[in-house]
């Protein structure tokens, strides 16, 4: 049986508060269900990559998408497992507009015994006007690896 949406929501909302770098960027959970995960990254002057335009650096998008794709892994799982990122590719459609938050939506579109394949978008106005597209592959390393993490998140 898959994790319930309540379990997913609880895990994901704790995740963004417990992971030091997510907390540092004030990331928050918007929605977690079996379709996918939605996170939000507020605009912050500390994230600016180009001081002349005020546009946030692509690295902030990479962090948002890695976190969102990493959480999306659990939407297809029966229990919590540690799943390190194998690879992550981001295509940048356009610069994120300064002053506005960036949202991310990611889904796990295929899962095997050893791998989870995810994809997602970063957007501001609406999901069909993406700022960036992401594809990430995660490795499953077994359920025992997650026991410690589970305790930590509770």
């Amino acid at each position: 049986m898959m994790l319930t949406e309540e379990q997913l929501t609880e895990f994901a909302s704790n995740f963004v508060k417990v992971i030091p770098h997510c907390l540092h960027l004030n990331m928050s959970l918007i929605k977690a269900d079996h379709d996918g995960i939605e996170l939000e990254l507020p605009y912050d002057g500390r994230l600016v990559g180009n001081p002349e335009t005020g546009v946030i650096h692509s690295g902030a998008i990479t962090t948002l998408m890695d976190s969102c794709c990493g959480l999306a892994v659990f939407t297809r799982m029966e229990q919590l497992e540690a799943c390190p990122t194998l690879d992550l590719r981001i295509d940048h459609m356009t610069a994120a507009e300064p002053g506005k938050p960036v949202r991310a939506f990611a889904e796990a579109y295929h899962i095997t015994r050893s791998m989870v394949f995810t994809r997602g978008v970063a957007y501001q106005e609406s999901r069909d006007k993406p700022v960036a597209h992401a594809v990430g592959t995660f490795m499953r390393v077994g359920r025992n690896s997650m026991k410690l993490m589970q305790e930590h998140f509770q």
Binding site: G49, P51, P84, T85, R89
Partner: protein, 154 residues
């Protein structure tokens, strides 16, 4: 070719960094670089990018390990700065896409990155980045990305 007026401020910083080889003015001038704490130092004719260990960059508090997004952001910023320092680029190059392969978990210690421009055309540059901790022969991540250059247009 003279850069447009609005870019002269940052262009001056880049020129100053190139001439003095004091690259701290560059990293200090970019909020995101300061946020993750990255630095850039001369290494012969080349440069070495460093990401000193800091608690706020952690993505897995159990292992512990550096957030994959921070490693990605560090490598993206390294590639962009490398282009500005060596490729006669007076603006922060725009990222088109970036693909990261994570090879080992980033332990909570100092991380280094080295960039190589694989191809530079008039409009686009392809940059490969290697990130390591204990030995360059044992990279924690390798990445490649495309950047749009400002050459040939104002």
């Amino acid at each position: 070719m003279k850069p447009p007026k609005e870019h002269q401020g940052f262009a001056r910083i880049i020129k100053e960094a190139r001439d003095s080889r004091d690259y701290s003015i560059l990293t200090n001038g970019i909020p995101y670089a300061s946020l993750i704490g990255m630095q850039c130092m001369p290494m012969g004719d080349d440069v070495l990018f460093t990401l000193p260990n800091q608690m706020t960059n952690i993505g897995n508090p159990i292992l512990p390990a550096i957030h994959g997004g921070v490693i990605g952001g560090f490598m993206e910023m390294s590639a962009a700065l490398h282009l500005m320092l060596f490729m006669d680029e007076l603006r922060l190059p725009k990222i088109i896409d970036f693909s990261i392969d994570y090879l080992r978990s980033g332990q909570p210690k100092d991380t280094y990155a080295h960039c190589e421009v694989c191809r530079q055309g008039a409009r686009v540059a392809n940059v490969a980045v290697t990130a390591w901790q204990s030995k360059k022969e044992l990279p924690i991540a390798i990445a490649r990305g495309h950047f749009k250059l400002s050459k040939g247009r104002s």
